[in-house]
Symmetry: none
Subunit: 204 residues, 2 copies
DNA sequence: ATTAATAGTTCTCAAAACGTTCTCACGATG
DNA sequence: CATCGTGAGAACGTTTTGAGAACTATTAAT
């Protein structure tokens, strides 16, 4: 039974909700709260999902006890790509979550066609992209005006710039975000898009 | 019969879509989603492609189960928090890894005492931290000079600034990275450190 | 300890969504 | 013409989801 037995959509939603609830309140939710949290009205149905999650080995319960749900395996995928998102850091209590937006999920960064590039130079500094930063690129061959792209020029030089077509697509502008640099214009066939910027990160 | 029987265009498209979907969502797509993903409207047709891929040995299904598709030869499983780190994107070959430094590992961001805060305002803009960015904070009560910290002032106001002691520790300077703002000086006991900046990220 | 309120559990009935199978159809190709 | 790759959509059975009643157990207050 090493199989990661698959959860249905609602079961997964239920597990998510329970994890978030416990993270925020330190106690487990009631069935009524679970029901509302996943958008249904029946405690009975919520209970069914909880049972399925026990079956699947994700949680356990003190049978009968109120708020008796316990997490068994802190979901590995979640644990590694989700951070609690906190808003204000208020006086008495150390931290306070922003209602609604309470997690940051980095799985977007790990898509199949994504890769990371270390930035060299200051050409995009006014867009907040600094020398040494890491940018996440989705591998694509097309881009929309305004996207920040990795562009290959004359099959030799690679650069990170904002993309814009001009002259009905016959020319392509590559626009730096740095007042001290000028935008460059190339014939369209000299420029090949390698990917589009979807994220950026930095370590201190 | 070890023949790698050739896939038709649409079958390959279907396989691509399934792989990408699973990579991004961790669960398999529904036939309806496959249909939309490859640009058709009929679940029946999507099902036919799925059958062909089973025949060809690329995937299998839990018959009848929703989202029951499984990849058989999965791509070398990429860890959840590691991205390939690429350097130059050279001419002939589309991409080329930097030798030595070929992965970016985000597990640093997910330590136990870390949390994320969304940045409001432009006070750190010259440090490349812009309004709307997400910063990763390690929960600590002390900081070194030069660290960027989340500071609580007079138990009421929270702010992100560069930290510096002065007057032998009796005063604390909180220094914005924005020419239009002035640094602030407080008696040490009015300022409480909530955490130290260890990372920053942004989604586009 | 008794009670009232609330929570967890079990059950039946039902509908919605999904996978599966099938027929019909169209255009391209040999 | 026959064949292949493609697409739409109807029809059917199964899985998944939902509501709510009825019952039992826990909890907090009297």
């Amino acid at each position: 039974m090493i199989d990661a037995l698959p959860l249905t959509d609602k079961q997964r939603l239920t597990l998510d909700f329970i994890e978030r609830y416990i993270a925020r309140h330190t106690v487990a939710p009631k069935l009524q709260e679970i029901a509302e949290g996943i958008g249904i009205r029946s405690r009975g149905v919520a209970h069914r999902y909880v049972q399925a999650l026990i079956e699947a080995g994700f949680i356990s319960t003190d049978e009968g006890r109120h708020r008796g749900i316990k997490l068994l395996k802190p979901n590995p995928q979640r644990a590694e790509s989700i951070l609690p998102m906190l808003g204000r850091i208020a006086a008495g209590r150390p931290i306070e979550a922003i209602p609604g937006e309470d997690q940051i999920d980095l799985r977007d960064f790990f898509g199949h066609n994504n890769f990371a590039v270390r930035v060299q130079g200051d050409s995009m500094i006014e867009a907040g992209i600094m020398d040494g930063d890491t940018v996440i690129i989705e591998f694509r061959e097309t881009a929309d005006d305004g996207d920040i792209v990795v562009a290959l020029i004359d099959e030799t030089e690679t650069t990170l710039k904002r993309f814009k077509r001009s002259h009905k697509g016959r020319y392509i502008k590559l626009i730096p975000a740095n007042k001290e640099m000028k935008e460059m214009v190339y014939e369209a066939d000299r420029v090949r898009i390698q990917g589009v910027l979807i994220g950026q990160l930095r370590k201190y």
